[in-house]
C-alpha cells in the first residue's frame, strides 16, 4: 500500500489507518463526530496527498480540455477554478475534477486518487494531434486541506495574510517555508477553506506549522471518516458512490456544470444535451430518514412497495442531528417532501425526499 509523506505525522498523532484507493490513510484521529463538528465550528487539517495533480500545457491546452468536459473551459479567467467531469461516449462520468487555469495555456487538474490512472490514460488516449503536454506530477506533490470557519485566520498566522489569500474558487502561487507553493480556496466540506499543494519533501513541515499556528483557533487533524460525513452533509458527490461511468452529469444533478451554449464538441455531448432537454428517468435525490435507522450504500429504495432505486451514500449528519443520504431513483413523479422507504435489514423504513441543502452553507466566501 502507498503511504503519503505525512504517514509518520499521522502515526504520531495516533490515527487509525485504513486502505483507501490503495493508500494507507488516516480514517480518524479521535472520533469522526468530534472531528466533523470541529470543522463546522473551528477548523480542520486534512491530508489529501493521495489526490492526483496533472498539469496540462501547450498551445492547444484549452482546445484539448474543451473536448473532454461539458463545462466551458474557455470561460475560465486566470487563476480561477472550474468544477467539471470527464465524460465518456455514453455521457457517463470518467471522473469529476477541478480544472485550474494557472495562466494562458497552463492548466492544473486535481483528480480523485481512485481515478488517477484512468484519468491519465484517458487524457493520453484523447491527445491525438493536439499540441499539449500532459504531466502527471502526483508523485512529486503532496496536498493538505485546511477547512472551516477559522481556516482564513489560521492561514494568516501561517504567513499568508488575509488580503493576499485567494478568493473563493481561485488559486495562486505563494512562497512559504522557502518553497513555491500553490494555494486554492476550495474544498470538500461545505466550509470556507484552502487546499495547499507543496513538494513532498516539505509537506511534513507545513503540516506541523499549520497545526501549531492553528492551536489557538482549535484546529484538529481530520481523517477520511469525517471527510466523508462532511461532504455528504454538504450533499457533494463522491466518485464511486454517486458518480461512475454509467451515470451522466444530468442524472447526477450536475446539469449546472454543463454549458448548454458551448460550441465545441466534447465526448458524450449529444446524449448529455438530449437529457437536459428531455429529462432523465434516473435521478439523484437527497433524503432524510423519518424512522430511526441509518441508510447505507447500496440499500434499496422503495415507493409503493416497488423497488425504485438504491442508496449511494448514507450516514448520520452530526451537525444537523439527523440521518441523511443520497441515492438514485427511477421515478419522474416523486418530488421534494414525498415519502420513500429504504430497505434496511429486510425491513422498510420511511424517509423523506429533501432538497440538497442539508446544511445552510456558512461559507464566508469573500
Amino acid at each position: 500500500m502507498a503511504k503519503t509523506f505525512l504517514y509518520n505525522n499521522h502515526i504520531k498523532l495516533g490515527a487509525k489507518m485504513v486502505d483507501f484507493a490503495g493508500w494507507e490513510m488516516p480514517v480518524q484521529y479521535t472520533s469522526i463526530i468530534e472531528e466533523h463538528n470541529n470543522v463546522r465550528n473551528n477548523a480542520g487539517l486534512f491530508d489529501v496527498s493521495h489526490m492526483g495533480e496533472i498539469f496540462v500545457s501547450g498551445n492547444d491546452a484549452l482546445n484539448f480540455l474543451q473536448t473532454l468536459v461539458p463545462q466551458n473551459v474557455e470561460k475560465l479567467i486566470d487563476k480561477k477554478a472550474l468544477y467539471c467531469q470527464f465524460t465518456n461516449e455514453k455521457g457517463g462520468i470518467v471522473d469529476d475534477l477541478l480544472i485550474y487555469k494557472l495562466k494562458e495555456s497552463h492548466y492544473l487538474l486535481i483528480v480523485n486518487a481512485s481515478r488517477l490512472e484512468a484519468d491519465y490514460t484517458w487524457l493520453v488516449n484523447h491527445k491525438s494531434n493536439f499540441d499539449v503536454t500532459i504531466d502527471n506530477k502526483s508523485d512529486i506533490y503532496s496536498m493538505v486541506a485546511l477547512q472551516g470557519p477559522k481556516a482564513s485566520d489560521i492561514l494568516s498566522e501561517v504567513g499568508i495574510k488575509k488580503e493576499n489569500q485567494p478568493k473563493t474558487f481561485y488559486i495562486d502561487k505563494y512562497k512559504l517555508l522557502n518553497e513555491d507553493i500553490l494555494i486554492s480556496r476550495t474544498g470538500y466540506t461545505g466550509e470556507d477553506g484552502f487546499e495547499i499543494i507543496i513538494r513532498n519533501e516539505k509537506v511534513s513541515e507545513l503540516w506541523e506549522l499549520i497545526l501549531e499556528k492553528g492551536k489557538p483557533y482549535g484546529i484538529m487533524p481530520i481523517g477520511l471518516g469525517a471527510r466523508d460525513t462532511l461532504r455528504l452533509e454538504a450533499a457533494m458527490s463522491l466518485y464511486g458512490n454517486e458518480l461512475n461511468e454509467n451515470t451522466t452529469p444530468v442524472e447526477a444533478g450536475l446539469s449546472w456544470t454543463v454549458d448548454k451554449d458551448k460550441k465545441q464538441d466534447y465526448i458524450g455531448k449529444n446524449i448529455i444535451l438530449n437529457q437536459i432537454q428531455l429529462g432523465t428517468d434516473k435521478k439523484l435525490i437527497a433524503f432524510k430518514m423519518i424512522d430511526k435507522a441509518i441508510a447505507r450504500h447500496e440499500y434499496p429504495i422503495y415507493s409503493d412497495n416497488k423497488e425504485i432505486g438504491h442508496v449511494t451514500s448514507g450516514c448520520v449528519a452530526p451537525a444537523i442531528g439527523q440521518n441523511i443520504g443520497l441515492g438514485y431513483i427511477n421515478n419522474k413523479n416523486l418530488k421534494i417532501n414525498d415519502t420513500i422507504q429504504i430497505m434496511i435489514r429486510n425491513k422498510l423504513y420511511n424517509a423523506q425526499i429533501t432538497d440538497k441543502n442539508f446544511i445552510k452553507k456558512h461559507n464566508k466566501g469573500n
Partner: protein, 126 residues
C-alpha cells in the same frame, strides 16, 4: 479498569458472563474501539430465542453497520433499554457494564467451550 473475571469472548468480538444466574451479552472493548463513534443499536425482542452464532442485533458506527452474533444459545430475557436512546454510552462507559442483552442459557458450559478468557482474547487481538 477491572474487568469481570468470568467474562468470555468470541472470535467475532462478543462477550458473555454470568451473574446471579443470568447471562449478560455485549461487545468487547476492542470491538468498540474498532467501531469508533457508535450511533445506533438495534436489539431483539424479549423472549426471542437464538442459537449460538445467530445474528441477534446490529451496531452502527458513523462508518458502517456491524452485525452481532450470539456467543451462546439462549432466550432473551432483557435488553439494555438505555442504549436505544443513548447508543454513545457504549463509547463512554466500561464495556462490561454496557451489556446489550440478558439471556437464559440451557447449555452454557457446552456452548461456551470455544470462547476465550478475556486476557487470552486481548492478547490475540492486540
Amino acid at each position: 479498569m477491572t474487568v469481570k473475571n468470568n467474562i468470555l469472548c468470541s472470535k467475532s468480538h462478543e462477550y458473555v458472563f454470568e451473574e446471579n444466574g443470568e447471562y449478560y451479552i455485549g461487545i468487547t472493548d476492542y470491538a468498540i474501539e474498532q467501531l469508533g463513534d457508535i450511533v445506533f443499536v438495534e436489539l431483539p425482542e424479549i423472549n426471542s430465542q437464538y442459537t449460538k452464532g445467530e445474528i441477534f442485533g446490529t451496531i452502527e458506527s458513523v462508518k458502517a453497520a456491524s452485525e452481532i452474533y450470539m456467543p451462546v444459545s439462549g432466550k432473551v430475557t432483557a435488553i439494555n433499554e438505555q442504549l436505544i436512546e443513548k447508543p454513545e454510552l457504549l463509547n463512554e462507559k466500561a464495556f462490561d457494564e454496557m451489556w446489550l442483552i440478558k439471556v437464559s442459557s440451557e447449555n452454557y458450559a457446552e456452548d461456551s467451550n470455544d470462547l476465550q478468557k478475556y486476557e487470552e482474547y486481548k492478547k490475540e487481538v492486540e
